[in-house]
Structure formats: C-alpha cells, structure tokens
C-alpha cells in the first residue's frame, strides 16, 4: 500500500494520461461555493478524480463535507464555479448538454406514490418515449431479477423499505445507464437488507460492465463494494487519500469480504483519514 498522499497525487496525474481512452467520468479541479445572506461558504475546493469504465469508486468523507453537492455538480444539476466535469471526454457545458446514460439514486427512494412499482420503473422510458411494450418487458424482467416478482402492480406504500429501494434500483438500471451515481442509497436500510442489495448491485453492475460512483458514510460499505475508495477532507472538500481495494473474496460476498484479511486495515486507515475526532 502506498501512502495516501502519494496515491492521491497519482489519481490526479492519471487524469491527463487517460484522456485518450476518455473515461466515462473525469472531474477536473472543480470548486463550488454557496452564497448565503452575507457570507460565502466554500463547499468543494479543487477536487479531481477519474471514474474508469467498469470501475466502482467509493467516496467517503466526514459528515457535511459536501458529498451531495459534489454529486449534483457531477450530474450537471448545478454548475461549478471553477474546473470541469467531463463525460466521455466531453465537457459538461453550462447549458444544453446533459450527461447521457447516467443513473442517479439517493437514500430517499423518491418513488412516486401514485405509480405502481412497475410504473415507477418505467418512468424514465416514458420520458424518453420508448415504446410501451418494450418498456413493460424490460421493467418486468428487471423487477423479477431483483426478487420483486409478484409485486410489480403494488403501490409503493404497500412495500417494505428494502423492496422500495429495490424498485428504485430497478428504475435506475432499466435505462441501462453506463454510469451509476449512488448517494448513500442503502443508508436507510437494515443490515441484512443492506448486504443483500449491495451484493445484488455489485452483481448487476459487474455483469453489465457499468461504472459506479458510490457516495457513502459507511466505510465498510465503501471498502466492500468498491475497487477504489477516495477519502475527502472537511469543507472545503479536497481529496485526502485514495486506496485501491484488493481483497481475497468473491466481489458479491458481502460477509466474506468483511471477514477477509486486510478489510479491517482499510477500514481503520480510512477512519483515521477522516479525522472525525478532531472535527
């Protein structure tokens, strides 16, 4: 294992060398401040990283470090003050260009209560005017795959928290996004449900070669799911450290990964990087 700072420097310098291959997502020196009443709050300060194809990258940071702001910047929902976000080498412009093929999932499932599970899954396809029959088939297949067979016509209010989050996952995956942006998607779930959905997510993502940016508070989740973990500093957020995770267990075995040698070391190291005690 290299020192965190050296790895962080590596991650930044990689930005240049990988441009020819145009990774799905490259974040280059972005910064963002918010103006409230009479004061300026810098939230993100000079942050760079790259998400390669088929890679799962986790971002962990202290509470309130601006992770959600980062996500909104990456999606183009808010513009950065400085720096650039590139999707497949193409910069996110101020207007017009929206990242294509991005799936976005939050801790809140954001299911529309007036739509049944399957109608929620079909929302994105409806917006893009994909033929009804095709949308129906894809949505139903994915719900079955996520263990929701027989619940397609249930309203969200009749589903458990875990089932609702699976529907949200299906709604994200059904559009076949190349990149998934997940903002603490499993944080509200109980431990058992969380492990099951984590391993389902890893399987579905690995099988289809998608890239994932996973923002989380949960260090164990970050280490067990990701190829690489980026640790952020307090506000204004910068990159503090980056770790390539190499564990000796099947990628979808959430318990095995947690028990494997080295897991505890990563968790302990990232915990100390987070500097929580001194916050």
């Amino acid at each position: 294992m290299q020192t965190p700072i050296a790895r962080a420097a590596d991650a930044v310098s990689n930005t240049g060398s990988q441009r020819q291959g145009a990774p799905p997502l490259a974040v280059e020196h972005i910064a963002k401040s918010f103006f409230t009443a009479d004061k300026v709050t810098p939230v993100v300060g000079d942050l760079s990283f790259v998400l390669g194809k088929g890679e799962i990258v986790s971002i962990v940071g202290p509470s309130g470090c601006g992770k959600t702001t980062l996500l909104n910047l990456v999606c183009g929902l808010i513009p950065p003050d400085a720096g650039q976000v590139r999707w497949h080498g193409q910069p996110l412009g101020a207007r017009g260009f929206r990242p294509a093929n991005v799936g976005y999932m939050l801790q809140k499932d954001l299911l529309l209560p007036w739509r049944t599970a399957i109608a929620n899954v079909k929302l994105g396809m409806e917006i893009r005017h994909i033929p009804k029959a095709e949308g129906n088939d894809r949505a139903r297949a994915l719900l079955d795959q996520l263990g929701l067979h027989g619940f397609a016509d249930n309203y969200p209010s009749t589903l458990s928290g875990g089932m609702r989050q699976r529907v949200a996952l299906a709604r994200t995956l059904v559009n076949d996004p190349e990149v998934l942006l997940l903002d603490e998607p499993f944080a509200a779930l109980d431990f058992q449900t969380k492990l099951l959905i984590e391993s389902d997510t890893v399987n579905l993502v690995r099988d289809s070669g998608k890239s994932v940016l996973l923002i989380t508070h949960d260090i164990e989740e970050a280490v067990s799911m990701a190829d690489r973990v980026l640790v952020l500093t307090h506000r204004p957020t910068r990159l503090k450290a980056a770790y390539d995770i190499e564990l000796d267990a099947p990628a979808d075995d959430m318990i095995g990964l947690r028990e494997s040698a080295g897991f505890g070391d990563y968790v302990r190291q990232i915990w100390s990087d987070l500097d929580v005690g001194r916050a």
């Binding site: 999606c75 939050l106 809140k108 209560p113 917006i127």
Partner: protein
C-alpha cells in the same frame, strides 16, 4: 401477508396502530371484520342517541309555552313543514336550483383556480408578481361584492353562479399553487436526470403530486360554493334554498326556516360525499397503504 393487506385495505394505516388490533392478529379475517362491524355499529348507535335526546329536549322545551314554540320552532312543526315541502315539490325544486348554482360555481371556480394555481409553478417571476394581487382579492368578503354582481349579472341564475365561483376561485388557486411548489426538489432532480424537460416534469410530477392538496381544496370549497350561492339568493331571487330561508325568516315562520336548513344540510352532505368518492376514484394509491 394477505391478511395484513386485507386489514390495511379497510382501515388504511390506522389498523396498524390500533392497540386492539395487536391482540387479534392471530384471529381469522372474518372475526376481525365482525369485530370492526360491531364497533362501527356502536358508534352509529351513540350518534343516533345523541340526536334523539337533542330533538326530544327541543320538543319538550318548545311545548312549554306558545312563545318558545314561536321563537324556536319544534321538531314536530319542522317535520310537518318538511313533509309539506316535500309533497308539494318545493323542497326538491329549491334544492335542485341551489344545487345547480353550487355545482356550476364549484366547477368553474375550481377549474379556473386550479389551472392558474398550477400554471404559476411554471414561472417564479410571474407568481411573485401576482402574489399581492391574489392576497388582495382573496381578502375581499364575497358578500361585499353581491350588489355589484347583481348589477353585472342580473337577478337570475348567472349572478348566483358568479357569487359561488368567486367564493371558490381564490381558495382553489392558493391550495393548488401550494401543492405545486411543495413538490420535493429531489424528485424534480430525479426526473431531470431521467431526461425530463419542464413540461414533462409538470405533467408527470407536479400535477399528480398536487392532487392531495387540490382535493383538500375541493372539499373545503364545496361549502364555500354553497355559501356563495345562498348569499346570492339572499340578495335577490325567486327560487332556491336561500330564497326559501330568507322568505320564511321575513315571515317569522321559524319552523320553515329550519326545514329549509335541513334541505341545505342534505345538499351539503351529498355534495361532500360525491367529492370524497371522486377523490377515492382518482387517488387509488392512497387507499393502498
């Protein structure tokens, strides 16, 4: 599972928090249904007893002297007026005229109010511009407009519909606008990441998400529409419940006033019931919890 869903369908989420439900979870669904039926029967019985006791007290007090019978009427006198008005068809005619005015005012007022309220979501600028005007118009007591309305719309049906519409429109506008701007910004962001533009966000998210508030407004405005129609009839009319109440009051025919009031209450209950049924039909997901 199916028993739990069954229970949920009847009583919505209440069943889950009802402490008595805990003890019966093991009982077969039939027994639960029977128990619930007995309980609602008991509620009905107590309500009937209260009503009967009240009417009996009224009848007894009114029978004590000629004055109190004249001043307060009595249930038996009200009933005989009611019978007469039903038999000669005047009650039905008054109810249907006032009902027509109320329903038309309710529909026109809510259509305009809801349309404008939801449309204001489109532009923060426009909504900020019109806000003080809406508040100003909303603060006018509708009855103060009645003389002008009669000058503009005449003494016929149109002036009552106009009164009823005016009583409804601002409330409908405010409740639907409140619903539209109350939409979760995360949900708007989600739709944007799915590629939705503003018109799609409006039709797929804002309108259905506002339905809860819109229906709350509809239930509120049923009463307002009826008040508008009756106030319009008070000012000048030859038919309708407001006309009957006003005329009977002028003639000191107190039991007839109460008999017409019974007609008004019946109309209000029927209209509220219909709106509730329509809400149930249009928002099936709210029964599913």
């Amino acid at each position: 599972m199916s028993a739990a869903l069954d229970r949920g369908r009847g009583m919505a989420a209440v069943a889950d928090h009802d402490p008595s439900a805990v003890s019966v979870t093991a009982a077969p669904p039939g027994a639960i249904r029977a128990r619930r039926f007995r309980r609602s029967l008991l509620v009905l019985l107590v309500q009937a007893l209260i009503l009967i006791a009240f009417l009996a007290f009224w009848e007894y007090e009114a029978g004590k002297s000629k004055q109190s019978a004249f001043m307060f009427g009595s249930p038996s006198a009200i009933w005989s007026f009611l019978r007469k008005m039903i038999l000669d068809g005047s009650l039905l005619r008054d109810i249907s005229v006032t009902g027509l005015e109320t329903v038309l005012g309710f529909l026109i007022g809510n259509l305009i109010g809801t349309f404008v309220g939801l449309s204001l979501w489109y532009s923060l600028f426009v909504s900020r511009v019109v806000q003080p005007f809406v508040i100003a118009i909303g603060s006018i007591p509708i009855i103060a407009l009645a003389p002008i309305i009669i000058i503009w719309f005449g003494t016929g049906l149109a002036s009552k519909i106009a009164m009823s519409t005016l009583s409804v429109v601002v409330v409908a506008l405010v409740t639907s606008y409140k619903g539209a701007i109350g939409v979760d910004p995360d949900q708007i962001n989600l739709l944007r990441t799915l590629g939705a533009r503003k018109p799609q966000i409006f039709s797929k998210l804002v309108v259905p998400a506002s339905l809860t508030d819109i229906f709350a407004g509809l239930k509120l405005t049923v009463g307002f529409a009826l008040i508008g129609a009756i106030v319009g009839e008070f000012m000048s009319s030859s038919v309708g419940l407001g006309h009957a109440i006003f005329q009977a009051g002028s003639l000191y025919a107190i039991p007839k006033v109460f008999a017409s009031l019974v007609g008004t209450i019946t109309l209000a209950l029927v209209l509220t019931f219909v709106v509730g049924k329509i809400e149930q039909l249009l928002t099936p997901w709210r029964r599913a919890g």
